[in-house]
C-alpha cells in the first residue's frame, strides 16, 4: 500500500460519513490484533483444529499426464470446513468482532459459501448472524440458503437492483448503517473500503503461505504459475499474496466471461472494465460511460460481480498479475473434466481456474508446475450444472 488503504491509485474509503467512525474502528482493531500474539495463536488453533488447515497441496497426476505438459497441483481449499476458502477470512474477522465486543455478524453472500462460513462462525462464537443474498442467488443456491438457516442464521433475499451479489453488498452496507453499535460487517471478498481489502488479504494469505512451503518441501521449487478464479478476488489475493515478490512465479486471475467478453452477459471486469468508485473503493468496474454500474452475468454466483478488489486492479496495471476470461461453457467442461480425471467435484468458481490451467498446461514443459487454487467444493453446484446440461434431477 502507498497512502493509507491505497494500492497505487486504487482502494480508499468511499463510504458514507455515518459508517466512517466504525470502519476506522475496525481498521484500528485489525492493525492491533494482526500483530497480537494471543490473537494469532487463537486463530491458528481455529485454523488447525476447526477449519482443517493446512489444506493439502495435491499433485493432479492424471490430469497432468493427460494434458501432456506442466505438472498441475491443486491447493485444496475445498477440503476446508464449510467447503471453501471463505472460512479463513471469516474466522479472522469474527475473532476481531468478538474482541471489539460485537455480538452480531452481518454478511453478503453470492454463491452462499461466505454466508455459510459466517453463519458457522456465529454459531461457534455464540453470535447472531444475518446474511444478505440476492434473490436470484437464493434460487440458484437454495441448498446453501438452507445450510445457513440450519446454522441459526437469518437469511434475507435481496430483491432490489439486479438481485445478485452486488445488490447483496448494497443491502449489507445499508443494514450496517441502521444498526452499528453491536454489529460487525464480515465482508467476504477483497473489496470494499479500507481495511477490508487488506484484512481479507491478510487472513486469506494463509493459502499462499502454506502453498509456498508445500511446493518447496514436495517439489524443491516454487510453481511457475499460480492460477485462481477472481470475482471480487478473495481466494486469488490469498493465493497470490506470498508469491508477489517471487517475480518468476506468474500470477493469473481468471475472470468469469459468462457468455463471452463480447456480449453483455459477462463479468470480466479487468478485461472490459473502466475506473470507477463503488462499494467503498476506487477500482475497475463494468459500467456505462455515465458511471452507472452494469448488470453482469456468470453461471457462477460467486464470480457474478461488476467490480474487482483494488489490489487486483493495481497488480493488473503494473503487470505483476495477468487476468484472463473463461466462459461458462469452458468452466462447465473443466468442472466435468476434473470430476472424471481426478475424482474431484470442484466449485464452478474454481472450475474457471481449472479451465485456464487446461489451456496453458499443454504448452508448458513437464518440469514446470502450475498451482490451481481449488477455492471450493462443487456440491452446491451439482443441481445447477445438471440444469445447464438439460438434465432433470429429483431430490
Amino acid at each position: 500500500m502507498t497512502k493509507k488503504g491505497y494500492y497505487g491509485e486504487y482502494g480508499g474509503q468511499f463510504i458514507p460519513e455515518l459508517l466512517m467512525p466504525t470502519v476506522n474502528d475496525v481498521a484500528d482493531a485489525f492493525n492491533h490484533y494482526k500483530d497480537d500474539a494471543d490473537f494469532k495463536s487463537e486463530l491458528k488453533d481455529l485454523f488447525d483444529n476447526y477449519a482443517n488447515r493446512p489444506s493439502l497441496l495435491y499433485h493432479a497426476k492424471n490430469m497432468s499426464k493427460e494434458l501432456g505438459g506442466a505438472q498441475i497441483y491443486f491447493k485444496r481449499e475445498d477440503l476446508n470446513h464449510t467447503g471453501a476458502h471463505k472460512i479463513n477470512n471469516v474466522l479472522g474477522q469474527a475473532l476481531i468482532a468478538k474482541r471489539m465486543g460485537k455480538s452480531r455478524l452481518i454478511a453478503e453472500t453470492g454463491a452462499g459459501q461466505h454466508g455459510v462460513a459466517t453463519a458457522t462462525a456465529a454459531a461457534l462464537f455464540g453470535m447472531e448472524a444475518e446474511i444478505f443474498m440476492g434473490k436470484e442467488d437464493t434460487d440458484r443456491q437454495a441448498l446453501n440458503v438452507y445450510r445457513m438457516k440450519l446454522l441459526g442464521a437469518k437469511v434475507h433475499a435481496v430483491d432490489t437492483g439486479t438481485m445478485v451479489l452486488k445488490d447483496a453488498v448494497n443491502a449489507t452496507f445499508q443494514e450496517w448503517t441502521k444498526r452499528i453499535d453491536d454489529t460487525f460487517y464480515v465482508l467476504g471478498s477483497a473489496v470494499g473500503p479500507y481495511p477490508f481489502p487488506e484484512m481479507v488479504k491478510y487472513f486469506q494469505s494463509i493459502i499462499s503461505e502454506e502453498a509456498r512451503e508445500q511446493f518447496l518441501s514436495q517439489t524443491g521449487k516454487l510453481p511457475d504459475a499460480v492460477i485462481a478464479a477472481v470475482g471480487g478476488g478473495s481466494n486469488a489475493i490469498g493465493a497470490f499474496s506470498k508469491f508477489i515478490s517471487d517475480q518468476d512465479v506468474a500470477l493469473i486471475g481468471v475472470e468469469a466471461a459468462g457468455k463471452g467478453i463480447h456480449t453483455t452477459q459477462t463479468a470480466a471486469t479487468i478485461t472490459n472494465g473502466t475506473q470507477g468508485i463503488f462499494h467503498g473503493m476506487k477500482s475497475k468496474f463494468l459500467q456505462s460511460s455515465d458511471g452507472q454500474i452494469d448488470p453482469v452475468y456468470s453461471i457462477s454466483a460467486g464470480l457474478d460481480y461488476p467490480g474487482i478488489g483494488p489490489e487486483h486492479a493495481y497488480l493488473a496495471d503494473i503487470k505483476r498479475a495477468q487476468y484472463v476470461p473463461i466462459t461458462d461453457d469452458e468452466a462447465v467442461q473443466a468442472f466435468e473434466y476434473i470430476a472424471r480425471t481426478e475424482g474431484i467435484i470442484a466449485a464452478i468458481e474454481s472450475s474457471h481456474a481449472v479451465a485456464y490451467a487446461m489451456k496453458i498446461a499443454p504448452n508448458m514443459r513437464p518440469d514446470q508446475q502450475i498451482m490451481v487454487n481449488l477455492s471450493g467444493r462443487g456440491d452446491k453446484d451439482v443441481a445447477a450444472i445438471a440444469r445447464y446440461k438439460g438434465v432433470e434431477i429429483n431430490e
Partner: protein
C-alpha cells in the same frame, strides 16, 4: 441573479426540498423544481439517479428507477438544470453518488455546475478521508461541497465543519433515507455543537417529513425533506404542483 446558499439560509426557518431529476420525466421534473421554488423552498436538491443508491430507502430507490426508465443520463440532468435556470433563481444543489461525477471527471463536472449556476453538491459516499481533491476543485469553481455530519461523527466534527460551505447537512438519524414517525432528540444537541463551531448554516434531514417535526430542530437554519416530496410525486406523477405547493407552505409555516 442567483443568491448564495449561505445568504438565503442565514435568516433561519429555511426549507430545502429534493427531487430526482427525471422522475417521472424530465419535463415534469423541471415544472416541479419551479413549483417548489415558487412555493417557498429556499434551496432545491436535484438527485441524479444511480444504479445502486445504497444510502437510500425504498422511496428514493423507486424514484431512481423511474428516472432511469425515463432515460436519465448525466447530460440530460445538465439539460434539465439549464432549462430550470431560465425559470427560477432558486439555489440548486446536486445530490449524487460519487461514481457518476468521477466518471464524468471531477473538474469537468464542476465546470458544468458553474456554467448552469448549480451552487453546490452533496456526495454521500465521499467522506472526509477522500474528499481533498474534490474540495480543492470545488473551491476553484466557487461551488459548495456540502459536508454531512451524523450522530456518530463525534470527534470528527471539527475537521468536517472546517471544510463546510453552503450548509452543513445534519443527518438526524441512523440508517438510510426515508420518512420516520419519531426522530431522536440527539440531533438537536448535535446541531448546537455544530453551530458553535461554524457560521455556515445547519440544515437537518433524513426522516423529516411532517410539519410537527420542524419545531424539534428550532436551532437549525433549515430542514431538508426528500422522501416525503418524492412520495407526493409518486402519488401524483403528472399533476403534483398543487400538492407540493401546499406541502412546502405547511412546512414553512411550521417554524
Amino acid at each position: 441573479m442567483v443568491e448564495k446558499i449561505e445568504t438565503v439560509l442565514k435568516h433561519g426557518k429555511g426549507f430545502i426540498s429534493f427531487v430526482v431529476a427525471g422522475d417521472p420525466n424530465f419535463d415534469k421534473s423541471a415544472d416541479y423544481i419551479v413549483a417548489l421554488a415558487e412555493a417557498g423552498a429556499d434551496v432545491v436538491e436535484i438527485g441524479i439517479a444511480f444504479s445502486d443508491p445504497s444510502a437510500d430507502g425504498e422511496t428514493i430507490m423507486k424514484a431512481d428507477l423511474r428516472a432511469t426508465a425515463a432515460g436519465s443520463t448525466t447530460r440530460k440532468v445538465f439539460e434539465l438544470v439549464e432549462k430550470v435556470r431560465q425559470r427560477t433563481q432558486v439555489p440548486l444543489v446536486f445530490l449524487t453518488y460519487t461514481n457518476p461525477v468521477f466518471t464524468y471527471g471531477y473538474e469537468a463536472f464542476l465546470a458544468k455546475m458553474k456554467e448552469y449556476e448549480v451552487q453546490g453538491i452533496i456526495m454521500p459516499d465521499l467522506p472526509l478521508e477522500e474528499q481533498a481533491e474534490f474540495v480543492a476543485l470545488a473551491e476553484k469553481y466557487q461551488r459548495s461541497f456540502i459536508q454531512l455530519v451524523t450522530l456518530k461523527s463525534g470527534n470528527r466534527i471539527p475537521d468536517i465543519v472546517k471544510h463546510a460551505s453552503g450548509f452543513v447537512y445534519v443527518v438526524s438519524s441512523l440508517g438510510i433515507t426515508g420518512t420516520r414517525q419519531n426522530l431522536s432528540t440527539d440531533a438537536y444537541e448535535l446541531i448546537t455543537q455544530i453551530n458553535q463551531l461554524t457560521d455556515v448554516p445547519t440544515a437537518v434531514g433524513f426522516g423529516v417529513s411532517q410539519p410537527d417535526q420542524v419545531s424539534q430542530f428550532s436551532n437549525a437554519q433549515a430542514v431538508i425533506v426528500g422522501s416525503a416530496i418524492v412520495k407526493i410525486i409518486a402519488a401524483h406523477p403528472f399533476d403534483a404542483e398543487r400538492y407540493l405547493t401546499t406541502f412546502v407552505k405547511d412546512m414553512k409555516a411550521a417554524w
